[in-house]
Amino acid sequence: MEIFGVPSALLGSQLLVGLINGSFYAILSLGLAIIFGLLNIINFTHGAQYMMGAFVAWIALNKLGINYWVALLFAPIVIGALGVVIERTMLRKLYKLDHLYGLLLTFGLALIFEGIFRDQYGISGQSYPVPELLQGGVNLGFMFLPIYRGWVVVAALTVCFATWFIIEKTKLGAYLRAGTENPQIVQALGINVPLLITFTYGFGVALAAFAGVLAAPIYQVSPLMGSNLIIVVFAVVVIGGMGSIMGSILTGIGLGLIEGLTRVFYPEASAVVVFVIMVIVLLVRPAGLFGKA
């Protein structure tokens, strides 16, 4: 069977691959959206933090003998803690200033982090093996699905929806949301807003590091792996609506699927399609698909 001249098996497999990439976009754009929503900071260090998550996993495996499963927890904690330090010592001073200052600071930090890893490990990257339990694949009839990729979708989406649940449905989440709306009143009610903000930044960064560990067995762990991805992820956040939690998750998955289809019908355009959509969305709905105008 063929659809628009493309065998349906190939189309099915491309949609599945799109879903896999979409879950990466979702988890990365989610972290960005949370940070922007609560701190009003455009976190340009996000790509570098994703990269460092992968590197921490690699270093943990090769130097400390820490396996993949522990690294899934260990790397986000290490990088999240680094995020807390960045927030406490630097970002904190910028909240009252224009967005541009936060952007410049985080962009500069990203360049510094990438430079350090490039100096230490070179550009070609390191190989991280797929954990034993997730090696191999299953034949789905229309494609061979590596078990690890299936795991990535499950893990990423679980974390995404758990995060959404915490922010939208729990008391802690209610404090967070209230803190962004009106920090003075929330503070007056006896809630430590600065601590809440620090925790939020640390959590957003930890999400990036988590995505980094998920990515380590798929891509070469290299200093530039984040900067390749981060521009697309920013477009995803803009399309979804800055600061919208569910918006960033759904847009991430959706754009992954659209990109997957582009790779079948017109592969040369697959790097551009996300940005074309961004332009159209900004023209029609400047606040993004899920944003509040």
Binding site: A9, V17, N21, I123, F144, E268, A271
Partner: protein
């Protein structure tokens, strides 16, 4: 007494003029070599700081060996793989800093841009890193040397060997820019000429990180061989993901441009059995080992063919300057073309009228993990491709400088 004093003075003056005349041929009595390379991007491992080090080694060795009366200096800069940055930097070097030769120039687009500026300013370009054949064809100049390898030689080595060994149906995964397209075109021609068939190709954006979609298309084609017409991180990611999606070992991969730095980074587990064509391998003979060990001591990595070629080309250039007694580009180039190259990198290498340096190339196969006995023991050399067969024959050259 008076006469004796006068004679002494006259002698001294004559002597001064003589030595003055000799050094006046070298502008500022200094030969300046510029290394313009990718210091931080995709190609910085295969060229980058290693290429700068190789240049410095060549300069130090030249001074020790030739004890020239002129000074030799090096400057280096990061061109970020961008043609405009490269040509601006080269112009600044030539105009204000008295640089005599711009060298390395990985990434074809930067090389082509700098070649033009150099020709206009009557300076030399020595290219070790870039790969596309237009450098010595449509866009050739009489002051440029393409030293280490090119897409024709790669295709001619790898694609020919793989096709002749039964890999007769091909599908290409091609980086969508000048170099990838040149590599695909040259390789397709070789596959067809050797009785093989090209079933199709997919062009991926450059750079890309996720290759799963493209690999699935290659898988669906049913071709025996998937040709990777890309380089650097694109190649390593594609190889890694091909194993993940079960593309290999059912279908085999042919890396059309792979460097030892790629094999080192991926590890032998995922690269074993792959064929590749290279202009240099550190473990070829005593001479290559001796030089490479010196390089390794300073850089902590074995040299890629680009870095080894960089040393050889700069050394050949400096020797030519000394022999010609001038740094005027035309005369130095005539000297370089007239002198065969014999060092650890090339045996009886020579520079043709189109600027192509021809030397033996090697068809290598990546070892299995249990065949590798010591660090960086990565290749079996399966075949030496003689210089005259490795590169595009002059008869087919599109370079206007070639007299037919």
């Amino acid at each position: 007494m008076q006469t004796k004093k006068l004679t002494t003075l006259a002698c001294a003056a004559a002597f001064a003029m003589l030595s003055g005349a000799a050094s006046a041929q070298i502008s500022g009595n200094t030969v300046k070599v510029g290394v313009l390379t990718d210091m931080s991007g995709t190609y910085s491992d295969l060229a980058g700081a290693g290429a700068v080090l190789a240049t410095q080694m060549a300069i130090d060795d030249f001074i020790a060996e030739a004890k020239p009366e002129f000074k030799v200096e090096m400057v280096s800069a990061d061109h970020q793989n961008k043609a405009d940055i490269a040509s601006n930097k080269a112009r600044e070097w030539f105009e204000r800093e008295g640089v005599d030769a711009a060298t390395e120039l990985v990434t074809t687009s930067t090389a082509l841009a700098v070649m033009k500026v150099a020709k206009e300013m009557n300076r030399i370009t020595l290219m070790s890193g870039p790969g596309s054949t237009p450098i010595t064809n449509e866009q050739c100049t009489d002051l440029a040397v393409h030293y280490t390898y090119d897409t024709y030689a790669l295709a001619n080595g790898t694609a020919k060997a793989v096709t002749q060994q039964g890999g007769d149906t091909w599908y290409f995964l091609t980086a969508d820019y000048a170099f990838g397209q040149a590599l695909e075109r040259d390789s397709s021609a070789v596959v067809t000429a050797n009785g093989g068939k090209v079933l199709g190709s997919v062009r991926h954006p450059f750079p890309a990180s996720d290759f799963s979609s493209f690999l699935l298309q290659a898988q669906a084609s049913g071709a025996k061989i998937i040709g990777l017409a890309n380089a650097g991180a694109d190649t390593t990611n594609a190889i890694k993901q091909a194993a993940e999606f079960g593309v290999t070992p059912k279908q085999a991969l042919a890396g059309l441009l792979m460097f030892i730095s790629d094999v080192h980074s991926l590890g032998l587990q995922s690269t074993q059995g792959m064929y590749l064509t290279t202009g240099f391998y550190w473990d070829l003979n005593d001479e290559t080992r001796a030089w490479s060990k010196r390089f390794f001591d300073k850089h902590k990595r074995m040299p890629t063919m680009v870095q080894a070629g960089q040393y050889s080309s700069v050394m050949h250039y400096l020797r030519a300057v000394k022999a010609a007694g001038t740094d005027e580009a035309g005369k130095v180039m005539a000297q370089m073309k007239a002198t065969p190259i014999n060092d650890f990198f090339a045996k009886n290498g020579r520079i043709r009228d189109d600027g192509r340096m021809i030397h033996d190339m090697y068809l290598a196969q990546v070892k299995k993990p249990d065949e590798s006995k010591y660090p960086w023991d990565y290749y079996h050399i399966r075949q030496t491709i003689p210089a005259d067969e490795a590169f595009l024959p002059l008869a087919q050259s599109k370079c206007p400088l070639v007299k037919k």
